[in-house]
Every structure is written in C-alpha cells, then in structure tokens.
Symmetry: C2
Subunit: 241 residues, 2 copies
Amino acid sequence: MNEAPGRREPADATTVRPPMRDALVGAAFQLFLERGYEETTVDDIVALAGVGRRSFFRYFPSKEDVVFPDHERCLADMTAFLDEEADVQDPVQRVCDAARLVLRMYAENPTFSVQRYRLTKKVPGLRAYELSVVWRYERALAEYLRRRSTGARADTLRADVVAAAVVAAHNNALRSWLRSDGTKDAEAAVDQALGYVQNTFGSAPAEPARAGAEDVVVVVSRRGAPMWRVVQEIESAFARN
Amino acid sequence: MNEAPGRREPADATTVRPPMRDALVGAAFQLFLERGYEETTVDDIVALAGVGRRSFFRYFPSKEDVVFPDHERCLADMTAFLDEEADVQDPVQRVCDAARLVLRMYAENPTFSVQRYRLTKKVPGLRAYELSVVWRYERALAEYLRRRSTGARADTLRADVVAAAVVAAHNNALRSWLRSDGTKDAEAAVDQALGYVQNTFGSAPAEPARAGAEDVVVVVSRRGAPMWRVVQEIESAFARN
DNA sequence: CCGAACAGGGAACTCAGTTCCCTGCCGGGA
DNA sequence: TCCCGGCAGGGAACTGAGTTCCCTGTTCGG
C-alpha cells in the first residue's frame, strides 16, 4: 500500500533492509545532521547507504530532493483532493482544507519535520528549493479557485491573492509549530491562521444553496453615469453568461 | 564586435556602474535568446564578452544572477524606502507603494523585462531563482508590517498575509503586463491590483473618494444563488474598477 | 621611484548531474 | 531445459558550475 509499481516481493533473506529510497533518506539525514548539508557529498551518502552513486539519482532528481522526500506525493494528494467531485459551498473553505493536508504531512513525522526545518533555515539552497515546492502548492490552489470563478481579470486576481494568503497563513502556523519543536498543537495553530483568511475572503455558507443555478450579475455605476451606460453594463453582464 | 567599447575608459566619478558588468549581461542575453539558457555555458558568455571566466563570477555569484542584474539594487531601494522616516497613515498603503517600486524597475526596460519573462517562464532553474528573489521582497514587506504592529501572534499573522497578498497582486498585474509584451499600461494594472488588496486590508480607501461621487451597486441574482456567490461577485465587481 | 592595493586572467580543482554501457536477476515462453 | 527480453542496479567517464590559488599589469600615494 505504500508503493505503486512492481517490487512487491516478500522479504527475502537478502532484502531485509527497507527499500533503497528510505535507506538513502536515512543515510542522507544522518550525515546532514552530523556534518551539515553542503559539507556532505552525494558520494558520502551513497557510500554510507552502501549503494551505487547512479542509484541515488534514480530515486532523487537532485541532492535537494532527498530533503523533501514526501512533497511530491503530498502535492499529488492535494491536486486529487481539489479535483474530486464534492458539493463545495465555499471554495475558500476548500482551499483551506487542501492546505491542511500539507500540515498533516508535516505533523505525521514531527521529529523529521523539525530536523528538516533547522536544515532549511540555514542552507540557502534548500530554502530556495522549498520555495519552489511551496510555489507549486500555491499554483494548485490558485488554479482551483480560477476554475471556480467566471474567468474575468478581477477573478484571477482574487484567486491569486486568496491562494497566496492561504499559503502565507499556513506557513505562519507551520513555522510557529516547527519553532516550538513540534510541542504545540499544530492543528489548532493552523485552524486559527486559516480562520483569519476565511474571515477575510471566505463567505459563511450558513444557508445551504438551494439550487445549482448560480447566475449573479453585479453592476457598479457611478452616480453621474447615464442610464444607457447602466443598461449597457447589465446587458453585457448577462451576455457573459 | 567582441571588444566591449570603452572598456578602458577612465571611470567617470558619477558612473559607479562598471562597464564589464553590462558587457557580460549583454553577451549573456544575446546567447540566451539565440540558443537558450541551459544550452549556453558560462565559458560561452565570457568568450563573447571577451573577458576571463573568473571575472564573470566576480560580478555575478552564479549564472542565474546575470538574468536578474538589477534586483539586488531594487531590493536595497525597497528596504531604504521602508526604513525612511515618513508619517505613514496606513502601513498597507506604504507596502503597496513599496511594491510599485519593483514594477517601476520592470517598466524602465520593457523589452528587457519581456525577454527575461519568456526565459524564466520556460527554464525551471530561473523560475526557482526568481521565487527566491520574490521571497526576499515579501520578507522585507512583512518585516516592515511587523515593526508597525504590536507584535502579538495575530499581528505577525496579519503581516505575513498582507505581505503575501501584496506580492501576489503585484505579480498578477506584472505578469499580465509582461504577457501583453509591455504594450498595456503597467501602472494602471498594478494600481487596480493593489487597490483590491488595499480595499481588503487597508485602513484607508484606495481611491481617494471623489467629491460627490457615490457609487451605486446593483445586484441581480437568481433565487438559488448562495450568498457567498453574490458577495464574491460584488467584490470582484468593485475590484474591476 | 617604490610598494601596496586592486582589477583582471588563468589553471586546476571539487562536486552535482548526465550519459553510456555493463552485470546479474527474474519470468516467460518454445 | 535453455534462451531471451526486460529491468533494477552499478560503475566509469564526461560536462559544466562554482571555487581556490596564484600570476600579471595598472594605478596611486608616499
């Protein structure tokens, strides 16, 4: 259940140790912690893990990837979560729940997450890599929000801003939890942070939507605008649907 | 052609910019555009610029830095702008103005900015580098907002979220402008985008209410539309102005 | 006129990441 | 049983970014 393709043999006498991927992550972190990230070469890692150098790059496209071994899966989980059919009342609520998936992944391995946090905090290259990972999460959220909007320029702007706000709030809570060495309650912290975003951007879905039809037209007009302009705006707004 | 003109000119007292730096940027972009970023080696660049390889890394810490030759200066400008003493009535307004500094830098060289945009869009390594640059801008804004707050947890959260929102809105407008090949009005686009953020988070209205100009909002909605959809449409309609 | 400071050049090195090719292992057929 | 094709892993050698060390010429102050 923990791996996808092939390799489903019962443990032979020779294959007692965990899959090579886990062995590489273990060896890498052992060296990173006792010696530092940049002071550890890939050759050191594969020597400790007892495998060939070529095998390292079979499992991890780059040295940085071994520090974030589970983000690829988490990103897939998030896109699956956002793609699945569900009657969503508030898209902002939905993306907040998607962000909670990421926090849950961190919370699954507190000690590992805290060690990695200390590492990324002091190694600029790892921080840059983490940013690119976070960016992909943010893009997934923004794309989802865009799909749920009319597609007007103002809506794509709103989608980008909401996605950025959700990610910022999530990261704020996550870092606060990591700085506490994983002792505080991560779920509570992220609930509070995301609650702020939902109060700002979300809409209280108190009353259940009665029908599927969601035609809404809004006309904003300055007082001096002539009536024909107002009519024109209403007509073009209707034409847009 | 391979000899940079005026290479041995006596440096003008006011000209702090070394000519070799510009020659390297020029040679680099010439090759990047005709051959691609990853297909161009640093040796190619220094050969075209007619300088030694060692000199490249004297001016640019890495190959990626030559693509963003002015961000370091712009970041310094921004921090200086945020540090300078001024009676600030609305900190959100202030960080929005700080973000406008970045847009102005892009708008100074439209063709250069558009070329770079096309490069960063297709080269993952450059995108990652740009993210780390943007992150530093965002941190500068967030730090400023934190300084202007009580320091309570909720305030640091708000600072992070507002900074992220400002950056997202700025980037939304910037990308829209870059996609138009620099033909549209960059200032107008960023004003509209940042106006949305200011209306959401700011204490003062973005547009200095024109005398006697009261806005009239008309909402037409079919019965089944949930309230959050109506609110969303109203917000996006306001942001459209 | 001398020497320190400094910009630039260049060879050689480290290490990440890639390419090419080899080996051993396994399962499925004829 | 033998052969064959696929495949995980290994290893050598290569490319290219970034660094280290040291050399050269110019400038400028004393």
